[in-house]
Amino acid sequence: MDAVVVSGLEKTYGKDVRALDGMTFSIPEGQVFGLLGPNGAGKSTTVRILVTLTRPDGGTATVAGHDLAREPDAVRRAIGYVPQASGVDREATGRENLVLQGRLQGMRNADTDRRAGELLELFSLDEKANALVRTYSGGQKRRLDVAMGLMHRPQVLFLDEPTTGLDPEARAAMWDELARLAAAEQLTILLTTHYLEEADRLAERVAIVSRGKVVVEGAPDALKRDLRGELVTVDLGSSASDGAAKVVEALPGIDDVLAEGQRLFARVDQGAQAVPAILGALDGAGFPVAAVTVSRPSLDDVYLHYTGREFRSDDEAGK
């Protein structure tokens, strides 16, 4: 059975901000699913709808078998939610926050206390357990956010950018913890992220979203495999890349060419063979080249390929 089924969700803010435009995907039980996309793509809006905060203008969704519109309370009992911006009470201790969360989810007293202790230990917060959250570091606070989402042992966990603001070490630790949880607890996880590496590392399946809908969906490896060849990135130093793109496009054996500011991206079968030809052609046309790199496909490239843009903001791109 699918733990999350999202079908044609639509949401417009104000008159013309189309945040969701037919968002559709589903997540089998026990899977870690990544929603990947630039700023403003509609990731948080999707999550906020699924956790019953925001009402969609159109479309339907079920979470843990419950229809969002008809049984919101059943959905609320089944889910944990870690918002993009923390929602913990800064004037309370970590433990008090967890206990209150458990109480509001209807847990019994004794169970609440036990579970709070368990999670504080799991997320290495025991030392800070009885300190006000106001005194926590960013990383400690983020770990508490995740612990809050897990407090009542939900079936489905929604993580909206769980590692944003963490240093690389804390991020790696969080990844380990989340990977372990996903494996051990048969938890279904919907994760949104900007970090392609994060999706690659944690998610069994990802959906790349842009402008409120899914542009491509699949296992990270399969998505990468679908991209033939290699990516050549040319840094043109000071000159704009539009003219250079035309020069490179004319060469044989070049699949996709994309110009972005002073940079040029070209998809080729064999990087080693294509680079001399590209450099020769650019030199001949009078474009000085500052640097060239060749890379194997990454999720970045998948992203680039399917959205026609580098990994950056939809908000910016719209302007």
């Binding site: 019953t52 905060l53 009402r55 929602g87 913990v88 004037e91 309370a92 008090e96 509001l104």
Partner: protein
């Protein structure tokens, strides 16, 4: 957990957070004392005018100061709600099965509780200044009227907080709507000294209901039936503003 259980859990949360602000506690207790001392000096001779049913202005003033303190506590109660909104705490609550009404009532009960405590401080200071305030029954009525008006105004204030969501807007609305309630009442002045049309208008004023109930012992001819009526009206007022605030929650959520 049922509605009452949830309300208590959320009430305890706001009380706990409040109790961690020593400055606030000091202020909460000192402010009513200060008012009582100030006004009792300022207006010492005002009872020479006719219209006061008692010789001691302190006796006349104590219930008024208790209600005024509750008035301010209640009117500003929405500030805490705005802080919770800003910090994402309310959104987190909304993703749990907790009742919206319990989130609102936790704060309403808090405001009623704090107002009652403050009224107790006023009564004790009044006692030190020689005002008996009608003995045990008088104290109970004053405490109940203070608690109820504090709670009722808190419901209103929390509703406005949910609608405006900004501190500045909330302050503007609270001032615009609440302050007239204060001035259209006989908190600081004898009823008979208020112009007739204002006296008529004040009959529809919950603050005036609270003042009248609280001041029964100094005003000759106030019957228990009237006190019961005023306290009953205050209960209805509190229930109505609580309902209003819960409605505002739905309006708030529609904008998310």
């Amino acid at each position: 957990m049922n509605a009452v259980g949830q309300t208590l859990v959320l009430f305890r949360r706001v009380m706990r957070n409040l109790s961690r602000q020593p400055i606030w506690i000091g202020f909460m207790l000192v402010q009513p004392m200060f008012w009582l001392l100030l006004y009792s000096q300022l207006f010492r001779r005002i009872t020479d005018l006719h219209g006061f049913g008692t010789v001691s202005y302190v006796d006349y003033l104590t219930p008024g100061i208790a209600i005024m303190t509750a008035f301010f506590s209640g009117s500003w109660a929405g500030m805490g709600m705005i802080e919770d909104l800003d910090r994402g705490v309310i959104e987190r609550f909304l993703t749990t099965p907790a009742l919206r009404s319990a989130i609102v009532w936790g704060r309403i009960v808090q405001s009623g509780f704090v107002s009652t405590l403050q009224a107790l401080v006023v009564l004790l200071v009044g006692l030190a200044l020689g005002a008996g305030n009608g003995g045990v029954l008088g104290w109970l009525v004053i405490l109940a009227a203070s608690g109820l008006i504090g709670a009722g105004l808190a419901g209103f204030s929390n509703g406005i907080a949910l609608l405006t969501r900004r501190e500045e807007s909330m302050i503007a609305v609270a001032n615009f709507i609440s302050l007239p309630l204060l001035f259209f009442s006989s908190i600081l002045i004898a009823r008979s000294l208020i112009p007739g049309w204002m006296r008529g208008a004040s009959l529809a004023n919950p603050v005036e209901w609270a003042v009248r109930a609280a001041r029964w012992h100094v005003l000759p001819g106030t019957s228990w039936g009237q006190i019961g009526l005023y306290l009953g009206l205050l209960v209805v007022f509190t229930a109505a503003t609580g309902l209003f605030a819960t409605r505002c929650f739905s309006a708030y959520q529609r904008t998310l």
